[in-house]
Symmetry: C2
Subunit: 219 residues, 2 copies
DNA sequence: TAGATTGTTAATCGATTAACAATC
DNA sequence: TAGATTGTTAATCGATTAACAATC
C-alpha cells in the first residue's frame, strides 16, 4: 500500500495495464511482455508497476493475480463507486445497459431526465426520475459522480443542477464546454473530437513510419 | 498555416479551446479570459494559440471567428472525415444518432454488425451491413477510421476484421484490451475507467484544496 | 553459473512557468 | 501616455530513457 501519490502520467497508464493484465492467462507476467504488448517502454512499465505493487520478483516477474489486485486497489476500484446518469436519451439509456461498469466497481444508481414524469419510470432494473428529484437523491444516497448525456443545448442547465445537487465530478458527453465552480471537475467525453484526433494521428503516422512491432495504445 | 508539428500536450488542449471558443459571444477574445475559464495557465494558452494562429493582437486579443477557424484547421476538422461503426447494439445505435459528429467534420458512413442479415438494414438514414461487407466497403469508400462498439467478448475478433479491412485507427468502446499490428492506433473509450479516474481525483482534490476560481477541465 | 528479470540512480528530453520585451 | 494584451527567452519542473546494480 503506497502512500506517495502517483504521478499523473503513471495514473493514466494504470487502466491500460489493468485491462491488459485481465486478459493474461497463466500465473506470472513480466513487465517486459506487458511493455511489448502495449507498445510502451520497458523501464516505464517497471517504474509504474513498482509504484503500485511490491510483488515483482527478479527472474520471475509479477504474479498475475496479485498484480491485478494491486492495480485495482490503486485505481480505487474495490470499493463500490456510485454515480447517476443525467439525460435518459439514446446515449443515456445505452450507458444504463453498458456491461463494463460493474467490472470497474461502478454502480449507476439512478437516471434523471427532464421529460420523465414525476412518477419514476423504469428502464431495465433502473429507475428514471424527474430532474427535480436529483438533489434529494444525491444527498440521500451520498452520490458525487455524474454522467451527463443530455443534448448540447441542455447541458449547461443540467450541469448547474448537478452542481447544486452536490455532484463533484461530471463526465460530459455533450459536445460543448460547460461552466462549473472551481471545486467541480469536468471530464469531456467527446467522441467526435477523439475521432478527429485519431484522424490527425493517422496522417502523422504515415509520415513518420513507425517501427515498433505492436500497436500503439492511447488512454 | 504552421508547418512545425504541434506538441502532444498542445494538441490535446486544442479541442478544449475550440469547444470554449464556440460558446463565446462578441467579436474578440483574449487568452487571459480563455485561461481563466478553462482553469489553465495564461502563458500556456498564449503559447498554444500562437502555434495555430497568427491573429493575436496586443491589447485586443484574438478575433473570435478567426481563432475558431484556425483551431478547426489545426484539428483537421474542415475536410470531411469518414468513419464506420462496428457493432450496432445499444451503444452503436446511440452513436449513429449522436448529433455532435457533424460539428467536428465527422461523417459516419455505415455501420456493420454480425447479426445483420446479408440484406442491408437501415437505422434512421444509415445502413447496417453484415460484417462480411466491411472490407469491400472500406476499400471502396476509402475509410480508415472505425468505432468499435461490440461486447468485450467479440471485440478482438471484430478488431481483427477491421484491421484486415484497412482501418488504421480504432476508437474502442469495449472495456478490454485489443491486440493490433504496429501500424494501427487504438484509443480506448472506457466510460467505467473514466469514472474511476474521476472518483480518484475527487478524493485527491478534497485533500489538496484547490484555490483557482474556475473548474478544472480535463481532456 | 548464466540469463532473465526487477529495481534504482543519473542523464536526457519535453512541457510548464516565470520574467520580460514588444505592441496597439 | 498608461494599461492591457501578445509574444519570446530563460528557468524550472516533471516525465522518460539510459545505464547499471541487485536478485532469484
Amino acid at each position: 500500500m503506497q502512500s506517495t501519490t502517483l504521478s499523473k502520467a503513471t495514473l493514466s497508464r494504470l487502466p491500460l495495464y489493468l485491462q491488459y493484465v485481465r486478459t493474461v492467462e497463466g500465473s506470472m507476467i513480466s513487465a517486459t511482455i506487458i511493455a511489448r504488448n502495449l507498445g510502451l517502454g520497458e523501464v516505464q512499465v517497471r517504474k509504474d508497476l513498482r509504484m503500485i505493487s511490491q510483488a515483482g520478483q527478479p527472474k520471475v516477474g509479477y504474479p498475475v493475480q496479485q498484480l491485478r489486485w494491486d492495480l485495482e486497489m490503486a485505481l480505487g476500484i474495490h470499493q463500490k463507486i456510485s454515480a447517476v446518469i443525467v439525460g435518459a436519451g439514446k446515449m443515456g439509456t445505452a450507458l444504463m445497459d453498458y456491461d463494463g461498469f460493474h467490472e470497474y466497481g461502478l454502480e449507476i444508481t439512478a437516471a434523471f431526465d427532464n421529460h420523465a414524469s414525476q412518477v419514476p419510470f423504469r428502464h431495465g432494473n433502473m429507475s428514471i426520475y424527474a430532474m427535480s428529484k436529483l438533489k434529494s437523491f444525491c444527498q440521500q444516497y451520498d452520490v458525487h459522480l455524474g454522467i451527463l448525456t443530455v443534448p448540447a443545448s441542455a447541458a449547461q442547465d443540467a450541469a448547474d443542477q448537478m452542481v447544486a445537487s452536490g455532484i463533484a465530478a461530471i463526465l460530459n458527453f455533450a459536445p460543448c464546454h460547460i461552466r462549473v465552480p472551481a471545486h467541480v471537475i469536468v471530464q469531456q467525453m467527446n467522441v467526435a473530437l477523439s475521432m478527429a484526433h485519431l484522424n490527425l494521428m493517422v496522417h502523422q503516422e504515415n509520415k513518420e513510419q513507425e517501427e515498433t512491432h505492436y500497436g500503439k495504445q492511447i488512454v
